[in-house]
């Protein structure tokens, strides 16, 4: 033992002269660090109640609960996360995974209360001093656990595809499908947005787990036209998708197509291999062999009823066949889907017009229930001078002829009037018929065009020109071709609802000399087959029905699809068909008892 070892420890006494290390009043003086993971904050406006935070919380500390002031609506479940601080470990996985970025953490760390129940609180709803805190842990792009980018659908290049009616979209391969399916959060907000409430999270899961046959069953539970919809659906689900808030929506439509692309050859075996239909006595007549009528037929037949579909065209399919061109929906796809429906015993009578060959009354007498699904297949007329001039066509009739196999000669300079999806189909078909200059005239601005943004972009890629705030006012005949007199518009003063409407500009007349002019300004219902019966029809020509059951004022007569609501999309017609099948079955069973 040396002297140093005895004296050295007394060195510690020098510390008595030092300042203390501790802070006198840390609770008041010391704020949490900028990144400190403190108590949660939630922007309840941004939050859509998708429940992904609940899903990922490792200790089940989060519960989605209904709250005052947040009502369920399209794209928002109306629930908000409630966090139990007895279970939370402040790992911030919930913040890192939030698709909208609404959930965050403040840097607050002090919360004293005598009531332990308070610690199960709803951030953003319960009023807390740290609501809206700037500092704390917030989700950054790098930290975000989700992938915002969509796997794009491979398509044929514009130069190549404008020369052919062959299908434009090529479909996902296995790799792309798996990558895209992996982006899904399984939150289920899309299910409400879909008119027919397809179980989207489950069929995407089926793709991930390589159970495509299960996926097909899930599709057909709600939609017997999944193969077509996988190509042309307007995809309200994608509009509501949680990922769309800070990234691209999941490519739900393309994933649906992936399932059908890989199962259609064995489709009938997968769906109806065990053939379990128990026959019932009653019969149902369906007027209209389009998506609505055929969907209703499919579900009614599965219940065992005798179902006969009357279609006035030569082939079934309705607007899917006669309104949508081949390059978006090949007829072969539609044919095999219709075959899946007829193969379970649905009777399809084509070339039969109700109101002509058979009267509506006769149909009612011979069947226990009738479903009207005639669609809205007549083009709206533009009542200007010169509509009868040769070279002027109505959009839907034009598409009808092409679908039937014709290739009308429309010349090289074509004018298309209108801004909806029909106008896009018309102008792109015109390109494929060989027209060198195709222009679309639309009376309003591009922002107001009802057509899908994708359609407009693809049309532009194929060389279609767009002229906005223009409307034709008179058409006259030239030696060869037509002279179309047009006026330019400007957006006028807002009307009572605040909407600005197009008003013709003085002195803005100009003419366009073209070979053909195709009007695609809208569609309406032809309900003439029910004229003279007691079925109520509205002034717009649509059938008046009970909003819940789709039954008209006449018991046993139901109506759905475009002919009930006016022109709308295919998936809504299919949803109506499924809904009508359910209510018709209920009606028939009630009658039975």
């Amino acid at each position: 033992m040396s002297l140093k070892d005895v004296i050295s420890p007394f060195y510690a006494w020098k510390k008595t002269l030092d300042k203390p290390y501790t802070i006198k009043n840390p609770i008041a003086e010391r704020e949490g660090a900028e990144r400190y993971r403190g108590f949660h904050t939630n922007d309840v406006e941004k939050c859509i109640g998708c429940g992904t935070c609940e899903e990922i919380c490792q200790n089940e500390a989060i519960d989605m609960v209904p709250v005052q002031g947040a009502d369920p609506q399209r794209g928002d479940s109306g629930l908000r996360p409630k966090i139990d601080y007895g279970r939370c470990c402040w790992c911030a996985l919930c913040v890192d995974v939030c698709p909208t970025g609404s959930l965050g953490m403040s840097n607050e760390y002090k919360w004293v209360t005598p009531d332990a129940e308070e610690y199960g609180f709803i951030p953003g709803v319960d009023i807390k001093p740290w609501n809206g805190a700037e500092k704390g842990y917030k989700r950054s792009d790098e930290a975000w656990l989700l992938r915002p980018g969509l796997k794009n659908m491979p398509v044929v290049e514009p130069e190549e595809r404008r020369q052919t009616f062959d299908e434009m979209a090529l479909g996902y391969n296995d790799n792309l499908a798996l990558l895209e399916a992996n982006r899904c959060l399984e939150c289920g907000i899309c299910v409400e947005a879909c008119p027919t409430h397809m179980d989207i999270p489950q069929y995407i899961k089926a793709i991930r787990e390589n159970r495509l046959e299960d996926g097909l069953q899930i599709l057909y539970d709600t939609n017997p036209f999944s193969e077509s919809c996988g190509r042309i659906c307007t995809a309200h689900c994608q509009d509501a998708c949680a990922m769309a808030h800070n990234g691209d929506a999941i490519g739900i439509r393309w994933l649906k197509r992936y399932i059908t692309d890989n199962t259609w050859q064995r489709r009938d075996d997968i769906l109806h291999g065990d053939n379990r239909i128990t026959e019932r006595e009653k019969s149902v007549a369906i007027i209209g062999g389009g998506p609505s009528g055929l969907s209703a037929a499919y579900y009614l037949r599965q219940q065992g009823y005798t179902v006969t579909v009357y279609e006035k065209h030569d082939k079934a399919g309705g607007m899917l066949r006669y309104g949508i061109p081949e390059y978006r929906l090949p007829k072969a796809v539609l044919d095999r889907e219709i075959e899946t429906i007829t193969r379970i015993g649905v009777q399809l009578k084509t070339g039969v017009a109700i109101g002509g060959d058979i009267s509506f009354e006769q149909l009612r007498r011979e069947n226990d229930a009738v479903y009207i699904a005639v669609g809205a297949q007549k083009g709206t007329a533009m009542p200007i001078e010169g509509m009868e001039t040769p070279g002027v066509y109505i959009g839907v009739d034009f598409l009808d002829r092409i679908a039937a196999g014709e290739r009308p000669d429309i010349g090289s300079r074509v004018l298309v009037v209108g801004g909806g999806n029909t106008a896009m189909d018309v102008c792109r078909s015109s390109v494929r018929l060989g027209a060198a200059e195709v222009s679309v005239l639309y009376r309003r601005t591009e922002k107001e065009m009802p057509a899908n943004a994708e359609e407009i972009e693809e049309a532009r890629e194929e060389g279609v020109r767009f002229d906005f705030l223009v409307s034709p006012v008179r058409i006259s005949r030239l030696e060869t071709g037509l002279r179309v007199e047009c006026r330019r518009m400007k957006l006028g003063e807002p009307d009572a609802s605040g909407r600005r409407r197009p008003v013709p500009l003085e002195g803005s007349e100009f003419t366009l000399d073209v070979d053909s002019c195709i009007m695609a300004i809208g569609q309406k219902v032809d309900s003439s087959m029910a004229h003279g019966t007691d079925v109520h029809i509205t002034r717009w020509g649509t059938f008046e029905v009970d909003a819940e059951t789709l039954q008209t004022n006449v018991p046993g007569v139901f109506a759905g699809g475009d002919c009930e609501s006016g022109p709308d999309d295919a998936i809504k017609a299919i949803a109506d068909g499924k809904k009508a099948a359910w209510f018709i079955a209920k009606y028939l069973q009630a009658e039975h008892n």
Partner: protein, 406 residues
């Protein structure tokens, strides 16, 4: 000072040679019951622990005393078993990362790193370069903090409480730095599969340098107060000697092994992260007593401080710190098994992970570094010690019950 009154009463020779001659699993001397006539009135049995200032964590020692001398010691664990390994089997891969840090309180980041490394090996995810540097930085930071606290515990076990006070305060300064880097003080949840969570905040290096200087000053103080301390030297030198031949059969690693002259250091033997790009040496001793082990730990702290400075200087400037993982809500890691290891403050820590290709880990086994030090070894080494020195022996073997029992 002669190794007399306060040092261990030496063990009877024939028992000693009995142990060293036949060190084989087929002759587990450590499992043999000691024959003591407990009815003779010569012996007193006491429980040191599970709640006792003289044990590190919650662990019980059932000590049979003859007077002041320990004749027999049985270790009892299980008070800190929280079932982590089973919990992980019921949580998705990403959900496991917030709980692994809680396996060891003083050094949570090593656990986070090992879990992340294991998952990355199984799934083939590669982390960005900067993330590897940040991980090494965090591991060295926590090593400094935890070993400082360890020194404080070591001194406190001998009644030198002042060192413990200083050590905990300086650890708090390090925890302040953790708070600004990771968002948490004790449980950081910063290292996760794919990289680390965030990059360094502004001005971090400056603040780190300040704190490192404080630690260096602290070590100077500790040297004066603890290592040049007659009482401490008298009590610890020559006490708790771990024979070199016991290191391998008992699976001793870390400073404990290095103090016995066996140069094991995972950072040099199996370099992980960016340790192969740093300049440092293994710190090896020879005396293998409690004093030597504490001394080596003090040297380790200084070496870690130098390593932190190196890392901050050599770290690449800009760069991503995180690789995006597949959608973690349904991430299926490829089937396979792996064992990943790291040098924690206490020794070699390892994670053995098995995946069956599903969304949940099939099996995660945590090799706590002090698992091998604190049970059978402690029982053997406690024999012949004075009851007053048992606490010091436990700390010296760096017993950490949370990682023993998970």
């Amino acid at each position: 000072m002669k190794s007399g009154a306060s040092s261990a009463i030496t063990v009877p020779t024939e028992a000693h040679s009995d142990r060293t001659d036949r060190l084989s699993p087929w002759n587990p001397f450590w499992a043999r019951e000691t024959e003591l006539d407990l009815d003779s009135g010569r012996y007193v049995k006491i429980w040191q622990g599970p709640q006792h200032p003289g044990v590190t964590g919650n662990m019980a020692l059932e000590v049979t005393l003859e007077g002041d001398v320990v004749r027999d010691c049985k270790t009892h664990i299980g008070y800190l078993h929280r079932g982590f390994e089973k919990l992980m089997e019921r949580r998705k891969w990403i959900q496991c990362f917030p709980i692994v840090c809680r396996i060891c309180v003083p050094e949570p980041d090593t656990n986070e790193y090992l879990f992340a490394a294991g998952v990355e090996e199984l799934s083939g995810v590669e982390i960005p370069v900067k993330a590897a540097w940040l991980r090494a930085l965090v591991l060295e930071m926590i090593r400094v903090a935890s070993m400082t606290m360890g020194l404080g515990g070591q001194a406190g076990a001998y009644g030198l409480g002042i060192v413990g006070q200083w050590a905990v305060v300086h650890r708090d300064y390090m925890l302040d730095l953790f708070e600004e880097l990771t968002g948490g003080r004790v449980y950081h949840m910063y290292i996760l599969p794919g990289g680390v969570r965030q990059d360094l905040p502004e001005g971090f290096s400056g603040r780190m340098e300040k704190v490192l200087r404080m630690f260096e000053n602290l070590i100077v103080d500790i040297e004066k107060v603890m290592f040049d301390n007659a009482v401490f030297k008298a009590r610890t030198k020559g006490s708790g000697v771990l024979p070199r031949e016991w290191v391998e059969p008992f699976g001793v690693t870390g400073t404990t092994a290095r103090a016995a002259g066996v140069p094991l250091d995972v950072r040099k033997d199996n370099p992980y992260l960016i340790y192969d790009q740093l300049d440092f040496e293994k710190i090896v001793g020879g005396e293998s007593d409690i004093y030597e082990r504490a001394f080596l730990r003090k040297e380790e702290i200084l070496m870690s401080i130098r390593l932190i400075r190196q890392i901050l200087k050599r770290m690449p400037g800009e760069g991503p710190v995180r690789r995006k993982l597949p959608n973690v809500l349904h991430w299926q890691v490829q089937a396979g098994e792996t064992y990943v290891r790291a040098e924690s403050g206490r020794g070699e820590m390892g994670y053995y992970m098995v995946s069956d290709g599903g969304e949940y880990p099939r099996r995660v086994h945590v090799r706590g570094a002090s698992y091998t030090h604190a049970m059978a070894l402690l029982e053997q080494m406690a024999r012949g010690q004075s009851i007053a020195d048992i606490a010091g022996l436990m700390v010296s073997l760096q017993t950490c019950p949370p990682e023993i029992e998970r």
